[in-house]
Symmetry: C2
């Protein structure tokens, strides 16, 4: 194999696929990037068996071929190369020569044939969404996904559901649910899949976030495929039915609060040093009155009070929450004002807008006051 | 004690003194900041017994007094306070009330009397140097100081020597020496002290680096004091004679190389991925010829070559170095071109300018080629 590409093009491609190189693995070949120049294009691939990323880069193929090379080492070398053409030559014993300007590197590659292929999947009509919107949807929901080693496998993924021209994404853990709904530009056949949270987070890193740059999303029985900017990301789906959340969502409320989002965020955030060092975990308390919420937090560190102006509808209420859960949700909401809907101190709080484009459900913490 | 200051003023002061709060300590009081409002000014102090920092902040004293408060907790709270006046009140049982806008915090402070005082030291005429120059001198030498737990205590410090209007700073470890000489605006009585590296690094963090902002440096028998911007930093000196380096410095050479600094830096840096993962440590080799240096590095990862154009005076030479030592020195040199002076492959390389304003001495690594 012999190829030549510009350093910038190679560097961009390597950076993209590095997102799918596993940190630790017993299979040395998975720590490699596959360089595939067997066809008409130069294709870089990484694959951790859950998520695979392919990036097509510009360059010339002087001799067709295929090789694998340690991904992180290759990434470091390419990063440090000058802004010039890089030539990679690999002979049939995998002796590899990388040259760029006066640089001359001689290492041993690995057989590209040993690299696990990304499955070739028949594709139907794609769903089209802008990079900006997809990146926002991921940012506004994945923080709720349970950690990869959670007991309930379903909670490590996120529901993507298409219903006509509506795309709904749902993520949840034991204490909260995040829901986002958006309107697509056109209608599509209904779909309902569960995408691993890890895949979504990797995709968000690669998306440039442009409002005019489109992503094509293909759904198959076992995989989801994202195509954009010469990049293809294939992720396995999580098999099974997603947790039914419909019975947890309700429009009833006894107390409705309208509040400036940034002000509420800052004031709850200001309470968090009360959990300093080994302070016993304590919730913060919202004491909701006519035009104001009194915020209180008492820990072994001391006692803190804050106050935030609100507009209230309905009953007064005293309710406790984990400060992190509340902050996480407020952090991703872009609206200037938010509405909180509550029934009583044992029922979840709904943070949502009128249109239901976002719904954050947070379970309260039991308090004795 | 009762004081009121603006959040910004308090936050700046706390940030400054936090640099002297030790990370872990068995004396809880050392993890505190002392707030001293017994006089006419509000003074914040932190002291890890090696280095003490005092910062005078603007504000009003409504009731004189003294208290100590957990430094990191206080730092977090003050950071999160809104941009408004902060009032701190501490009663005689150290119940402490901090209020800012709608915030109301109630914690327990500690007796300020228990806080270890920074020694009050009689001062002579100060040496005056700009913040910019001091910050640069520190950046350009402290990277050579041995780690705090080094066997030779003297190597954990840096020589500051005043000779008329010349200030010389010297730092060294087992493999290298860094020397900087600058001309002061006037002449001072001769001084020769060894300042702990840790103190210099903390000072560099606090200096704003302005060319017009001056630092007054006071030398006493056991301490060095830096005064600037309402801030006083007192550090103990390291007792004893600094390592005599005069016999290690020589102007003889057999090979002199003039080279573009950035180009040499980039090319040596490009060799460093060859030490990837568990690759056995290997030096890089400089093969110095008429108009060019061939750079080579062979490790278990592979073999790499680079080349850099030079102007040479004297003999050809093949010599090996630890890449990190060379990169560290080149990184802090601001000149576009540097001169390397060498005698043979067993003698140190001197990187210096014509005027001797900087001298970096690097020991070679033994190579068999």
């Amino acid at each position: 194999m012999k190829i030549t590409c510009s350093q910038s093009e190679l560097s961009k491609g390597v950076k993209t696929v590095l997102n799918a190189v596993p940190g630790r693995t017993t299979m040395a070949i998975l720590e490699c990037i596959l360089i595939d120049a067997t066809g008409d294009q130069i294709k870089l691939t990484a694959n951790d068996m859950e998520i695979g990323i392919e990036s097509i880069i510009e360059g010339t193929i002087e001799e067709k071929g295929l090789m694998a090379i340690d991904a992180r080492f290759f990434g470091q070398i390419i990063n440090k190369c000058p802004d010039n053409d890089v030539t990679i030559y690999c002979d049939d014993k995998y002796h590899t020569f990388i040259t760029c300007d006066t640089m001359n590197l001689n290492i041993t590659g690995m057989p590209g044939e040993d690299y696990p292929k990304i499955p070739v999947i028949p594709r139907n009509e794609p769903v089209i969404i802008s990079q900006f919107t997809l990146k926002e949807l991921i940012r506004q929901t994945t923080f709720t996904i349970s950690e990869a080693n959670a007991n309930n496998k379903m909670m490590t993924g996120e529901l993507m559901e298409i219903n006509g021209d509506n795309l709904k994404m749902v993520a949840l853990d034991k204490y909260r649910i995040s829901i986002r709904n958006i309107k697509l530009k056109e209608s599509y056949p209904n779909k309902k899949v569960v995408v691993p949270g890890k895949a979504l987070n990797e995709i968000a890193k690669i998306l440039n976030g442009g409002t005019e740059d489109m992503v094509e999303v293909f759904f198959t029985d076992n995989h989801i495929i994202f195509e954009f900017d010469n990049t293809t990301i294939v992720s396995r789906l999580i098999e099974g039915e997603f947790i039914n959340i419909e019975h947890m969502i309700s429009n009833d409320y006894e107390t409705k609060v309208k509040v400036n989002k940034k002000r509420l965020y800052d004031k709850i955030d200001r309470l968090t040093p009360m959990l300093f060092k080994d302070a016993e975990y304590k919730p913060f308390i919202m004491d909701i009155k006519e035009n104001v919420i009194d915020l209180r937090m008492n820990t072994t560190v001391g006692a803190m009070k804050e106050q935030v102006d609100i507009t209230k509808d309905g009953k007064d209420l005293v309710i406790g929450f984990n400060s992190k859960l509340f902050i996480d949700a407020l952090k991703v909401i872009d609206e200037e004002e938010v509405n909180l809907y509550m029934v009583n101190h044992r029922s979840p709080c709904f943070i949502k807008d009128e249109e239901g484009s976002f719904i954050y459900v947070i379970l309260p913490v039991n308090i004795q006051e």
